[in-house]
């Protein structure tokens, strides 16, 4: 049984930072009854372990790419990882999952119109050697989405001490 990697203090820190990452160490320390040094050390460790990352999430008003689309890919089985890497290198692709199911790769992207999806799916992804078939589907309505939980796939810059 896998255990959560956060202890109760970590969880409290992550909850506070998930609401607003710009809260000061001093305020978090005061609210949680620990020293600023503890807060600083914990945040640094959480980042180093790849458990949290800080980012600025913007709403759709600042960008026109406001439609989530899925591109389901059937790729040659013995080259899945390599092909997934090639798809992940396409800048407009937001997420790439390797899956076991009807398709073996799922790419997710935010699009602003159908042309950009066709271009991505047919012109870019289907053209990759070893990709046999692609199917697209567009999210017409998002019922639930939590931007604060994700897969942290690359180490972010570790913060300097405040």
């Amino acid at each position: 049984m896998a255990l959560p990697q956060l202890d109760p203090l970590d969880t409290q820190l992550v909850d506070m930072l998930a609401r607003d990452a710009r809260v000061s160490n001093r305020r978090m320390a005061a609210e949680l009854g620990v020293t600023e040094g503890t807060v600083r050390g914990r945040i640094k460790r959480l980042q180093q372990d790849g458990l949290i990352a800080f980012t600025a999430i913007t709403g759709f008003q600042l960008e026109r790419r406001d439609r989530l689309a899925f591109i389901n890919v059937q790729a040659e089985v013995d080259r899945v990882r390599e092909i997934a890497g090639v798809i992940a290198d396409i800048p407009s692709v937001n997420a790439v999952l390797i899956t076991m199911g009807q398709f073996n790769i799922t790419a997710m992207c935010l699009i602003d119109d159908l042309d950009s999806l066709v271009e991505l799916a047919s012109d870019n992804i289907l053209a990759i050697k070893g990709v046999h078939h692609v199917e697209t589907s567009i999210a017409v309505k998002t019922i639930k989405y939590n931007a604060r939980m994700a897969k942290i796939t690359k180490p972010k810059v570790i913060l300097e001490d405040d």
Binding site: A21, A56, T58, L62, E63, T99, G101
Partner: protein
Amino acid sequence: MKPTFEERKAVRRQSPTAGATFDATDVSIIRELRANGRANNQQIAERLGLTATTVSTRIRRMEDANQLRVVAVSDFSAHGFNVLLRISVSIDGRPASDVAHELAALPEVVAAHLVTGGYDIDMLVALHDFDDLAGFLLDKLSGVHGIRTLSPAIVVDIIKYQFDVAPIEGKA
């Protein structure tokens, strides 16, 4: 640092119906926050040649307009979720949005979308481990009416996961 071409373009793209307007300064502040969300106002101000007050005002304005959140994103594994499933659902005899809302109410369902294509609903499910799978499929999903078929895919690896644009809910 002067706004880049992309940033000026982003500004021109604003919808005329938008409740608030964002200029190149806002966009350059967002760029700094994406690089380091924990940078304080003074550090951002120095890098952009602004005052700390301006930075603070701009950030608050974008937050109030529900167009910006600077947040800590935590990894699925930090919450003990070690099994991720993508499940495509087709429905029958019940409005898709009703089924989707009922599925979204399950804590294991971390994302749910109504989609076009061969299926009606696409969802991402996070479980602590495979022992939880039977309970989720047999006890929880089977209790949701209107599901015709489920097509699950086990997520075996995540190569990329970068969403910095998302629907932003109002502050509670």
